[in-house]
Amino acid sequence: MSNSYSKPILPKPDTKRVVINVDGADVEVPDGTNLIEALKTIGIDTPHFCYHQDLPVAGNCRQCMIETDGPRGMGLAIACYTPVRAGMKVATDRSSEKVKIARKSVMEFLLANHPLDCPICDKAGECTLQDNYMAAGKHESRMRDDIGKQYKGSPEFRHEDSKGQERGGKHIDIGPRVVLDQERCILCDRCTRFMRDVAGSEQLYIAARGDHAFIGTFPGQPLDHEYDLNVTDICPVGALTGKHFRFQQRVWMLSKTETVAPDDSLGANITVEHHDDQAWRIMPRRNPDVNASWISNATRLQYRRLSEDRLASGSFRGTEVRLADAIERAGGLVQSARKVALVASGHLTIEDNAAILAMAGAFGSRVEVFGGSWLSVGAPDGIARSGDPVANRMGCKLLGVPDNLDDLVRRAGEFDVLVVVGHDLWAADSAKAAALEKIPERIVLASWHDATVAKSTLAVGVRAWAEVRGTMVNCQGRIQRLNAAPVAPSPDLEPVWQVISKMGRLDWSSELDAFRFAQSRIPALAGLNYRTIGSMGRILEGVAP
């Protein structure tokens, strides 16, 4: 950073609107906002690289050129740093040849020293250089061998390639999770601004000057931070890429499912990106009121767990059995039990917990519901995590799930059947959980072969968080939607609510039945449905965190 630039002023629902003239037509736009945002509200997309809604404005790529009126008439200016002013005149590429040429020339300049890496670059398909070239460039190359390119790289990584050309830095291992390709960098400074202003730890910096400048860390020092993979999202090109995704999939093969993070009660908005029935990566989904554009590494790398150690069938007394048989047996055990301890889970959706409560209700005093968590709660990091690992704690509270796990430990002897649903009690606190081993029948519904499944007498595989449709309420009191990605390891796996419905003979046919039950318990859910909750979630009335 060399200056005190500020974050862009984004339009809000209550921002006053003013009339400006764009390409000869009068239009109404939000006052005082950065012009690039104002133009977006009237459907005009301005190509850009260095601008980002959640980062301080840098204004260095010069791609978002427009013309605006100043004391000396119309002149070129960058849209990201020009504030809306009532009555201003703006010319975009639709009406100004000068703007067209300026934008096109920036593309030529950026590509002049850029390596021809598209065929081997992970960013292809979501690369801003490719996109902006198609939108605003499309120039014919005027480069030739004897003119040569000035490839970017630090002194320690520059090298000569097999053709004798002077090259920059290629596929550098700069940290546990990130790969750096200095040649591809367009020096937009986004990663620097992110690490300094959002992550709060300046580990990347553009060194040297002119076309010899390069991005890097302090020599020998790794890029290592809980949020370091976000730089691979915001990097407009393939300079910073994630090791986990390197050469795994071409992005245009991936389908996207919108959901929320299951590992933290802030519920950072994410997409699970999948192809061929497998999740290949998780990407953040922008929600200015929840996680902005960021997710932690822990959240991001969760997708790998979806295909590791999955409990894809049932197991009875250590022997694998068919899921349908396991579910039937589980239902039978509950029906014939004297007293059942049914442990709900804040890691599961509202729908799943609604089913648990509904089943308990159906069996009367024979089934007692327990809830809560033994996991320790940390502090919010101010970026995309609240520190509370129980994602749906608020949802459970609203449903009336009790917080009484320690009671269960005390009274374990009263029960002959224990049902633990989506809750790895033995990993959370094996000392306390040991007391539950005196309960003779221990039924566990789980997605993974975890410590609790190892202590079960009957285990039933269920779909994981990314494979179900449902809702959770985050620590802000916001209800958010989960959607189902087709990545379950077996088509026989069912969501928790459905298994519980079978066990408890609730006869529910979809999540909507579960949601309706939840509405009967939570007044704040009245009148809502999945559509009205929307993709950004909704703050529930009267639910003060």
Binding site: P155, E156, R158, Q203, I206, G216, F218
Partner: protein, 313 residues
């Protein structure tokens, strides 16, 4: 080209830090830091200090400077790579920098540089001679074009040797003969004085709380009141279209009130009206020949009166 080499063996912290953590260096650094309201401001000078102490700037020294100036190490590294005078590898004892920019170019710099490369046996890209005595580098405009072609030997401007010393006499620019004389001078010096004496890279570091005997040190202090209050200036009188008297003037934006005073004939000025400090003109009725003046007032107090203007017909 700037002085950034490809492969340098970086000494470890254990080798570098003891040389920097001496009382002499620390006290000078503390003086430097006190000159800026934010520690970060002292970074360039801290890097100069480290370079002067070590002869060049290894990464360990850059990290040291970063710590002292409370910036991230990568920030200090980026800054050290941005400026060309920070040496990222040791140079020879005599660092010869010859300007290749337009005025020196016209005056024959290329000739001299090619000659220098031949004489020293090293390219002019910042390489060191085999005996470690010289480093030769082409540089950009050195701001002494009247003496073109211009050369610097370490920190001194030198286009000739005069009376046994390096000098840049008026109108004297580098030629191949003068270059040879300077090289001979350097070689003789290396024999006579085994090690080049240290040169104060900050040009006379002064000692006091802020780097000067009377200085207060780092300050984001605001100047107190020291100057007299601002009077109104350029008071002039004219007529409006409908015949009224118009008075106009210039005044400082901090003026809170204007006291309009008039006098007819001899005698004292008497207050006529009080005007807002934002006013730049007054329109009213006054007899021709009346003398007017304006006394501006601000938070500091009353200023001296403006010039006297006479109401015209």
């Amino acid at each position: 080209m700037s002085h950034h080499p490809v492969h340098v063996v970086q000494p470890a912290d254990a080798e570098i830090l003891p040389k920097l953590e001496t009382p002499a260096v620390i006290s000078r650094l503390e003086e430097l830091i006190r000159r800026y309201p934010v520690k970060r401001g002292a970074l360039l000078q801290a890097l100069w200090l480290a370079q002067e102490t070590l002869g060049w700037l290894p990464n360990a020294a850059i990290r040291w400077a970063a710590l002292k100036c409370e910036v991230s190490p990568v920030h200090a590294y980026g800054v050290s790579m941005f400026y060309t005078m920070y040496k990222k590898e040791p140079t020879g004892r005599f660092f010869l920098q010859i300007c290749q920019n337009v005025s020196c170019h016209i005056q024959g710099a290329e000739n001299v540089i090619v000659h220098a490369e031949k004489v020293l046996g090293v390219a002019s890209q910042g390489g060191n001679t085999a005996d470690g005595l010289f480093t030769l580098l082409r540089v950009e405009c050195l701001g002494a074009c009247g003496n073109g072609p211009v050369m610097q030997v370490n920190d001194d401007f030198a286009t000739d040797v005069v009376d046994g010393e390096l000098a840049m006499p008026d109108g004297v620019g580098l030629t191949t003969e003068r270059f040879d004389r300077i090289v001979a001078w350097c070689r003789a010096r290396a024999v006579a004085i085994p090690t080049e004496p240290a040169r104060d890279s900050l040009g006379g570091m002064l000692v006091g709380t802020g780097g000067h005997p009377g200085a207060t040190g780092a300050t984001s202090a605001v100047q107190g009141i020291y100057a007299p209050p601002a009077p109104a200036l350029g008071l002039g009188s004219s007529r409006t279209e409908d015949g009224k008297v118009k008075l106009s003037w210039r005044a400082a934006p901090e003026t809170t009130t204007f006291h309009l005073e008039t006098r007819s004939g001899s005698g004292e000025f008497a207050a006529l009206a009080s005007l807002s400090g934002k006013d730049k003109e007054w329109i009213g009725e006054l007899a021709v020949g009346t003398e007017v003046r304006l006394v501006a007032e601000s938070a500091v107090g009353r200023a001296k009166p403006s010039n006297i203007a006479k109401v015209v017909a």
